[in-house]
Symmetry: C2
Subunit: 240 residues, 2 copies
Amino acid sequence: MIETLLLRLRARDEVSAEEEQALRWTVTHSREVPPGTIIVHEGQETETSTLLIEGFMCRYKDLRDGKRQILEMQVAGDFVDLHGFTLKRLDHSIMALGPCRIAEAPHSRLRRITEEHAHLTRLLWFTTNLDAAAHRSWVLSLGRRRALPRLAHLFCELHLRLQLVRRVLADNSYHLPLTQADLSDCLGITPVHVNRTMQLLRETGLAEFRSGIVHIHDIAGLHALAEFDPQYLYLSRKPR
Amino acid sequence: MIETLLLRLRARDEVSAEEEQALRWTVTHSREVPPGTIIVHEGQETETSTLLIEGFMCRYKDLRDGKRQILEMQVAGDFVDLHGFTLKRLDHSIMALGPCRIAEAPHSRLRRITEEHAHLTRLLWFTTNLDAAAHRSWVLSLGRRRALPRLAHLFCELHLRLQLVRRVLADNSYHLPLTQADLSDCLGITPVHVNRTMQLLRETGLAEFRSGIVHIHDIAGLHALAEFDPQYLYLSRKPR
DNA sequence: CGGTTAGTTGAGCTGGATCAAGCGTAGTGG
DNA sequence: CCACTACGCTTGATCCAGCTCAACTAACCG
């Protein structure tokens, strides 16, 4: 059940057998949810955190005039609202983008971890700090990149994050259950402009996106176009 | 030395005398730094975290073509790189914007806290999750708000955060040592456009910014213009 | 008093928005 | 099996918020 989570954690730090046991004891009640399910609503108080075992979700906020902004994409192995453990009430909503398998981590059990497993606590803390690092990367993209590199950057980020949990195929393609409208909500542009930008991206020959699948033809080229620097994903082992 | 930090923490949760002692023991070596000092460089590994006792700092990232994006403003009482405790290496830089007083929290001591003070650990963890919530608010602003509400939103956020640490005067004005160019790096627009947007804001009569001082004339009006919802600042007591 | 930095203004340009229509395909129900 | 619908993608025409470039002013400062 926590296999993808462990992949993600062990890419960054060691997880002892005892800690793994503590995690298994913490994460319960696995189930499927259909596309479009809203896991948590903005402002909602939570008693459990949700682990995304398989599938794609997004965190998002709405504005009164109907505009929506996706704040972060969540992939298999992500604790989509671990921050809810300390915040208690979420400042954004979370929605399933395709069919998802999720599990629950009751805050009472997470609390036990903070009382009995200092290193594992730091590792989980690290994990929410990773989210913040991803947010910062998005702030930079939205503030200072044009549509094309912004789109390319998103595809680069997802590529590496999915690779970590073995969700990228050998030909550097990966499943991504988003519509162009969803992408527009990630990138802060209109769906029409996503469409045109996608055509530009295709014309570069670096990557394309069709019927829910991203094909990357030239990783180095895409990284260069996006000015992608993966340091913010902290892929190498470090903490403790 | 940690008075502003305590103000910030106690606005959100209780801090016991024992925990306060642990914090005092953790935070050492207070000193002044001049404007423009770069406290941490992007990619730098850190052994201590920095507490901002007085003054203003910003987290920022640079792009190769010289574009800069400010990711978050830091005010008195903020642990500007507490996330460095778990990340070890920062994914962005941090710079003093005016003269600042800072202090250090060695990671070794923070680690002791995680081993001996579970509740305080959760509170510090909460604190870095607050940063992430602020980032999300910025993502929304940059992605979906026009220049004028975006500027207004920034002034609203700083107003509340500064109020928490008693840095707002009775007439709802506060010191903010930024140039229009700095603001443009916060808002993801050009300095020229900041200038014009500032004129628009002045014309609304809701607020103005001159020679490093923000005057808010109509808080409710400014909140409405910005569509400001302070829930992401988690100002009411909750955790534990 | 010359140099520098911050703010301001104007003119023209452009990336992305807006509005509107058309098109392909996968249901869905009669 | 076919009409009907709905949704996602695409295209075209026009518009505008914000950018670029360039010059000018005001305040400060050594």
